[in-house]
Amino acid sequence: MSDISEERVRHLAGLARIDLSDSEVSALTAELVQIVDVVAQVTSAVDAETPATSHPIPLTNVYREDVVTDDVLTQEQALSGAPETDGTRFVVSAILGEEQ
């Protein structure tokens, strides 16, 4: 049995920066209890020796040359999708947390 609870779901929503309403929290909790029960079966399907696969097709050492390309955007392009700018930079409201 997993430990999915409303408290945990709220905590996860905080980590994911989604302001869930109370009804969303309870609906999600109910769904996730069932879902996690099913997906958790993966734990019993494997053992410590089985290697994990992160990339389906094994490649290594993929690099690019240290040169500027034509992918660079103009300032206008960079800001083009922004909800709010001061003409040169993106504007965000006051920040609560400390830099990491």
Partner: protein, 502 residues
């Protein structure tokens, strides 16, 4: 030339070459079809007739000057809204990106333009490609042209429906767990998921980075091959793209061959849970293959039992990280709580308002799977299941050339029917998910209609990584046999759409 929309892309290319028609005529005919039927089908999210006709015009001018960009120059194509386009909005089916104009083109889109293809518009999809029915689109569902009360599949229901409703000769889609193949299956069309890395992901709005691939949606195997040839190949912008040189898939489709081809039927993907009508059409196809020189054997892929569970841990985990960028700062929606708020509050309010329920569900699940203390049991274990799936495929391919299964357990269900049970819809991906986990290529082609409901059924073939050409070979062979048997394409049996030219 009459009824331009009823022709395949290959036929249109020939007609353009011979001067029988022009790109403007072809494009206009498709725009007319879109106007006629898309209110019902809702395959498209954005259409810009002016842009398309201007591109068509330019194509005709190039042709007149003897400067065509390739054999497909002037043929229209639809583009799933998951791919960013600099001249049309890109929303990935979400409100959080409503109206967003990308400053750059996705590489597959750039390649389309460089080959002279005419973008007709952006097609509908489940929000952020999360879904199997296109019902999770924030802009309303797409409807299956075979039966407008049913789902067209997902997440790429828009591309498949556009192709099935003759609103485009072919289209680009994306496939993370079946999002090209399953819609092909339920709409009686063709869909291909290339080998992982075979087509660039640059500009494809990411869902699950280690599973996503861009591929062709069409009405014939040759058309899929032609489109695949345009978009395939290495891209310096995508580290995971393969540097292999690929053979021509159109040629592979033209060189259909069944003699001595060994087909492995996946034991785990038949029988229980699979609709009888689906199984009937599937088995008949196998018989047809056998009668024409193929060897059919059974293969055992035990790890498939855990594939859905593994997938629904890996995808949400990667997606939870990939979707973090939608935070109201640099692009997209911004929702400010009344009275203002800190940036953290604005981010949270925006994401709650901008994401739909399925997206939130998967983000929370993915955040959980990656959390401190849970990683090993969930994400870590799922990545191990992935290894087991790959190993099973490797074993199987040692004895056969391709694998086969029905593309999905059932035909198209009614809109709204499966919305209450996420797990049920997830289980419907059981046949398509393993290919994404393993990175191998897959194709779905139509093999008939199910007896119970008269709805399309598709067969799925899978090949080893990098052997996409084998899929075109065998699928094309089977397609010829079936078309002969039917006396025409399966789609010609589809009910006429109100307002559509028939």
């Amino acid at each position: 030339m009459s009824d331009l929309i009823r022709h395949t892309a290959a036929e249109l290319a020939d007609a353009l070459a011979s001067g029988a028609t022009t790109s403007v005529e072809i494009t206009q005919a498709h725009l007319d079809q879109i106007s006629a039927v898309d209110t019902d089908v809702h395959a498209y999210l954005h259409v810009n007739p002016e842009l398309s006709l201007a591109a068509a015009s330019a194509s005709d001018e190039r042709r007149a000057a003897g400067k065509t960009l390739g054999s497909l120059d002037g043929v229209p194509v639809a583009i799933k809204d998951v791919l960013v386009t600099s001249d049309m909005p890109s929303t990935s089916g979400s409100k959080i990106l409503e109206g967003w104009m990308s400053p750059y083109d996705a590489t597959p889109v750039r390649k389309l333009r460089e080959a002279g293809l005419i973008p007709l518009g952006k097609t509908n999809m489940d929000e952020f490609a999360m879904g199997s029915s296109t019902e999770h689109s924030a802009y309303g569902p797409t409807r299956n042209p075979w039966d407008l009360t049913r789902i067209p599949g997902g997440s790429g229901g828009g591309s498949a429906a556009a192709v099935a409703a003759f609103e485009a000769p072919f289209a680009l889609g994306s496939d993370t767990g079946g999002s090209i193949r399953q819609p092909a299956h339920v709409t009686g069309t063709v869909g291909v998921k290339p080998t992982y890395g075979g087509v660039s992901r640059y500009g494809a709005i990411a869902l699950a980075s280690s599973l996503d691939q861009i591929g062709p949606c069409s009405r014939t195997v040759l058309d899929a091959g032609l489109l695949h040839d345009v978009i395939k190949g290495h891209d310096r912008h995508d580290s995971t793209s393969l540097t292999d040189s690929w053979p021509s898939f159109a040629d592979a489709a033209r060189n259909a061959n069944l003699k001595g081809v060994r087909v492995g039927v996946i034991k785990q993907l038949e029988g229980e849970g699979f609709q009888a009508g689906v199984m009937n059409r599937f088995r008949e196809s196998l018989d047809l293959l056998a009668a024409n020189g193929a060897e059919i054997v059974e293969v055992d892929l035990p790890a498939i039992e855990h594939a859905v569970a593994a997938y629904y841990l890996i995808l949400p985990a990667e997606a939870s990280s990939n979707l973090a960028k939608f935070d109201s700062v640099r692009f997209g929606m911004r929702v400010t709580p009344t009275g203002g708020g800190t940036v953290e509050q604005v981010m949270s309010a925006t994401r709650d308002a901008g994401f739909g329920a399925e997206v939130k569900r998967r983000i929370i699940l993915g955040t959980y799977a990656l959390s401190a203390g849970y990683y090993d049991a969930y994400y870590g274990s799922a990545q191990k299941v992935r290894t087991l799936v790959q190993q099973d495929f490797a074993k199987a391919f040692a004895g056969v050339d391709v694998l086969a299964s029905p593309t999905a357990p059932t035909t198209a269900w009614k809109l709204g029917e499966q919305l209450d049970d996420p797990l049920a819809m997830w289980r419907g991906d059981v046949a398509t998910i393993p290919a994404n986990l393993a990175g191998i290529p897959g194709i779905s082609i139509p093999v008939g209609l199910a007896d119970e409901d008269g709805l399309p059924v598709g067969i799925q073939f899978l090949a080893p990584a990098r052997e996409d050409a084998r899929l075109y070979n065998i699928a094309s062979a089977l397609e010829s046999l079936l078309t002969s048997k039917w006396g025409g394409s399966l789609l010609s049996q589809a009910p006429a759409l109100k307002g559509g030219a028939s």
